[in-house]
């Protein structure tokens, strides 16, 4: 066997190994309903803040405790607990991606990603809003 063949084989082996590691690592995007069925499993939820329920955050008492209710497009609801500071734009966000695990009826969140209108300067709606206020 030629050496170049060995190299190619080793390369393929590494590539396959990497791919296996890769596939093990993925999590999934879920709805609140399907996440509730996967108790304790790490998932991503795409949801929004339920504004009808007051958000619970008192930094003076505990800066590392935030709790609110999330609601997804299918109407599923869950109480979310996030042991960290409140992302500053949470109340303005249109859509949130929550990473974490469902424990009973409570979603234990480890990370929150926000989609906020103001972050996106190219969002013309936001500019329209601002042009009225600068008048």
């Amino acid at each position: 066997m030629k050496k170049s063949h060995i190299i190619v084989l080793v390369g393929i082996a590494i590539a396959i190994g990497a791919l296996i590691m890769l596939s093990v690592d993925f999590s999934t995007y879920d709805t609140i309903l399907s996440a509730k069925k996967k108790q304790g499993k790490f998932v991503h939820l795409i949801a929004r803040l339920d504004r009808s329920v007051p958000l619970e955050y008192d930094p003076a008492k505990n800066p590392n405790y935030l709790s609110f209710t999330a609601i997804d497009s299918l109407g599923g609801r869950a109480k979310v607990v996030y042991l960290n500071t409140k992302p500053p734009e949470l109340e303005q966000s249109e859509r949130i991606v929550l990473k974490g695990k469902m424990q009973g009826e409570i979603f234990e969140c480890t990370d929150i990603l926000l989609k906020c209108p103001s972050k996106y300067k190219d969002d013309k709606k936001q500019l329209e809003k601002e042009i009225v206020t600068t008048k």
Binding site: K3, L22, V43, N62, N84, P88, L113, C116, L127, E130
Partner: protein, 838 residues
């Protein structure tokens, strides 16, 4: 309708020159292409002449477009959407440039400018390769011009013009009025997150890196087109080195920016946008090594082709990933979504380069000369090739993981990133680090073709012993404390540290013994040394990064160990509350939130935190400094946080505000009541009385550890409450370069504020302000880290870049003087950017 006060001419000029740039690059693409295929000397030179004129015209046009946009921004012409969106009158001059590359079309323009400069250089220098090389660059310019064209062809919008008018793009009742311009006071301005020194300097360097990767691609095409398959390697090597240096530095500048001024808590997060520029760099480095192998031995020509092509293909792919919004929720970088036409245009750009190049390569694959002789496994080229392959495969691993949103879009799957994204990369990349560390340590001691083993062993003994000693000392005196991922990973970190330290030592020793200190050809070893040192720094600073803001709740409020809802213990609780002027222990420091102050920009607030480390036995202050992280409090409660860092040679203390009260919603309605007091006087307040003990001029120390850089006066009070408690207060006035600074003191237990307001008009009494407040206590929530040995990362990077520049000067055969100038410029720029400018 006639609108008042608009300056429409500049936009028209800009738009016309965009169209000229498009047309001229089309012409120069065609002309260079034909010139490349003409055999007849006379015909060839006449086509070349025409092509050069076209390319120079397009370059001029691109510069005029850029100048027009700069003119719009510097004159704050907010009738243009570009001016409205990106500038505002308070912007400092340097940020005018930043506001140009904040915009998507602005950054395409920047890219286009670098291509133009590189192209003009190649016209002068590339000799017989000019026609095919310039065909490729002109073709890329065609696409970049299309990105900013904003013209409708057959109902499809091609690109986004930077010259569109605000009133055409945004709906609003005021745009119906002829005098609307007089009603809009100012533009939106540069995003506050981006108002930073790095935003001025990082994009131009990164885009120069991006733009320069087209040169190896273009030469690879030229090699295929001319059928002189191997001849392009020699002239392209200096370019590849240039590109490797600039792109590498550009990427790490982004890392430094993230570390210094964004609250990600680090310099690298395996974010898709970071990965997208790292991957082409890694392929480029693989290609660089195969090119060197080819030049020395005639092996690895085909690999050089494929790596040169793929580098640029992945530059385009990364543009596709980061500019089309396809990354969606997976990236923290808030790049705008660009809309369907732009999505399609960037995709066509990607395919127009990748598909023909790869097809062309495989058509010629069999015809390329290849060494029939096998590489000997004791040869340098064999192990260099293995290293390149490992680098390339790890780049493929990174891009495959980064591409999950693309895979989801194509196959409709729902793959999401794993729980611990960073670790999912780290566990693979640590193996890559180990392999590369050992390879770059040993390979250069091998000779091309084949090596006698006794020679290698003799040379490598000393570096091996030194490395074993250093690593042992490290394990004993400075153990790695990264237990989070288990013993296996901790072991891997140690092996990786060993491998990379080995590489540092072996390369240093090679410069000494192998090259006898001949600096001219030490570039390779030096850049390997730098790279390895950088990895050592990354390993140590990441593995031993320590959060010091963990909330222990020894002296404040509720217990937090168990969460009331989830009943779990694993509370990260990495944020700590600091009440104003109440000290708290954080790691080795006692930290006090002194006071806050407003910044120059609207909505910016600085929070001054005093860090103090005392000797445990003698209580003597060993170390003290003030950090002033700041936040921008924006409209509707949005907040953006900028960290502050204390740099030491061995470690950084890094802190940022993770939550701050909005001062407007916590307005203190009570006012200071000014009283005149002399020393010994007593003053009553609602819960007791206070005595002015004495007034101290230029006090030696003060309780806030406020650095006094000028005349200061301090008033000492003893306060007795009706409950019988005694408190002390010491307000102060300092006159320094910032003006007159009143440092108020607060007795929180009494909700009492004491201000030293000045001296009475007859100079005999002190003006003392007293306020009894009812508002809630003032506090900030913050996070703080200690990053050990982070300077190794930056020093390693600088050494690597200098090593690459040395190789480039050597390979390009620059004269002594030119070489020295290039070297001096690169070295000064690197040292300034990474170690001095903070």
């Amino acid at each position: 309708m006639q609108f008042e006060g608009e300056h429409l001419w500049i936009g028209q000029v800009g738009h016309i020159f965009v169209l000229i740039a498009f047309t001229a690059s089309l012409l120069s693409t065609i002309a260079f292409f034909i010139a490349g295929n003409k055999q007849d000397k006379f015909e060839k030179s006449s086509w070349l002449k025409f092509a050069r004129i076209s390319f120079i015209s397009q370059s001029a046009a691109v510069f005029i477009v850029f100048s027009s946009i700069f003119y719009i921004c510097s004159h704050h012409y907010i009738e243009y959407l570009f001016g409205y969106k990106h500038t505002s009158k308070e912007l400092e001059f340097k940020y005018l440039f930043a506001s140009i590359w904040e915009d998507q079309s602005g950054s395409f323009l920047l890219w286009s400018i670098w291509h133009s400069i590189i192209g003009m250089f190649l016209i002068r220098k590339s000799k017989e390769w000019e026609a095919p090389v310039m065909t490729v660059i002109s073709f890329a310019q065609l696409f970049l011009a299309m990105m900013i064209m904003g013209v409708y062809i057959f109902g499809t919008k091609i690109g986004n013009s930077p010259f569109v008018l605000t009133r055409n793009e945004i709906n609003g009742p005021i745009f119906g009025m002829p005098n609307y311009l007089s009603m809009i006071k100012d533009g939106v301005g540069l995003n506050v997150l981006l108002r930073n020194y790095w935003m001025v300097i990082h994009p131009p360097v990164l885009f120069l890196g991006f733009a320069s990767t087209i040169v190896p691609f273009a030469y690879a095409y030229a090699g295929l087109q001319s059928k002189k398959y191997g001849d392009w390697i020699k002239p392209v090597l200096p370019w590849t080195l240039f590109s490797a240096c600039v792109l590498g530095v550009g990427i790490m500048m982004g890392g430094k920016w993230a570390y210094e001024s964004l609250s990600f808590g680090g310099y690298w997060a395996w974010d898709p946008v970071e990965n997208a520029s790292l991957v082409p760099w890694m392929i480029l480095i693989a290609g660089l090594h195969t090119m060197v192998i080819y030049k020395a031995t005639g092996h690895s020509l085909r690999a050089s082709y494929i790596f040169a092509i793929l580098t640029f293909v992945f530059i385009l792919y990364s543009t596709f990933l980061t500019r089309t919004g396809i990354l969606g929720d997976t990236s923290v970088h808030a790049f705008a979504e660009s809309g369907r036409p732009m999505f399609n245009l960037i995709r066509i750009f990607l395919f127009a380069f990748s598909v023909p190049a790869l097809v062309y390569f495989f058509v010629h694959y069999k015809k390329m000369p290849a060494e029939l002789r096998e590489e000997n496994s004791s040869s340098r080229e064999f192990w260099m090739f293995i290293g390149s392959l490992v680098f390339f495969l790890s780049a493929m691993f990174i891009i495959a993981k980064t591409s999950t949103p693309v895979i989801n879009a194509i196959f409709g799957s729902k793959l999401a990133p794993p729980e611990d994204i960073e670790f999912s990369y780290n566990k693979v990349m640590i193996l890559v680090g180990i392999i590369i560390g050992f390879l770059s340590a040993i390979t250069q001691y091998l000779k091309y073709k084949s090596t006698g083993s006794s020679f290698v062993v003799k040379k490598i003994v000393l570096p091996t012993i030194i490395t074993i000693v250093i690593t042992t000392l490290l394990i004993v005196f400075y153990p790695i404390t990264y237990y989070k991922q288990g013993a296996g990973f901790l072991g891997a970190v140690y092996v990786a540290i060993f491998a990379t330290v080995y590489s540092v030592i072996a390369n240093a020793s090679y410069i000494w013994s192998g090259l006898n200190g001949k600096l001219k050809s030490a570039g390779g070893s030096l850049s390997h040394l730098g790279f390895a040192l950088m990895i050592v720094g990354i390993l140590i600073s990441s593995a031993n990064k320590k959060v010091i803001s963990e909330e222990k709740f020894k002296d404040f409020q509720i217990q937090m160990g168990v969460d009331p809802l989830t009943k779990q213990q694993d509370n990260p609780a990495e944020n700590i509350n600091l009440i104003r002027q109440v000290s708290k222990k954080m790691g080795p420091y006692i930290v006090t939130y002194l006071h806050d102050s407003v910044g120059k920009e609207k909505g910016r607030r600085f929070y001054h935190l005093a860090f103090e480390r005392k000797d445990e036995n003698s209580d003597e202050v060993k170390e003290s400094f003030i950090l002033s992280p700041d936040v921008y409090l924006m409209k509707d409660n949005n907040m953006s946080s900028n960290p502050d860092t204390k740099n030491y040679l061995t470690h950084d203390v890094f802190t940022y505000i993770s939550y701050a009260l909005n001062p407007e919603s916590n307005e203190d309605t009570a006012n200071f009541k000014i009283n005149e007091m002399a020393e010994g006087d007593t003053l009553y307040y609602s819960k007791g009385y206070m005595i002015l003990n004495q007034v101290v001029k230029n006090p030696v120390s003060n309780k806030f550890n406020y650095p006094v850089n000028g005349p200061a006066v301090l008033a000492e009070f003893t306060i007795k409450s009706t409950e019988g408690n005694t408190y002390h207060a010491a307000p102060m006035i300092v006159v320094d370069s910032f003006g007159i600074n009143q440092i108020d003191d607060t007795v929180y237990a009494q909700n009492l504020y004491v201000k030293f307001a000045g001296v009475s008009s007859d100079q005999t009494k002190m003006k003392i302000g007293v306020k009894e407040s009812s508002s809630i206590i003032d506090f900030v929530t913050l996070k703080a880290y200690i990053f050990p040995y982070i300077n190794l990362v930056w020093i390693g990077l600088i050494i690597m870049a200098i090593g690459i520049v040395m190789s480039m000067i050597n390979r390009a055969g620059l004269s002594k003087l030119t070489g020295a100038i290039v070297m001096a410029f690169a070295a000064i720029a690197l040292f300034y950017m990474f170690l001095l400018a903070n």
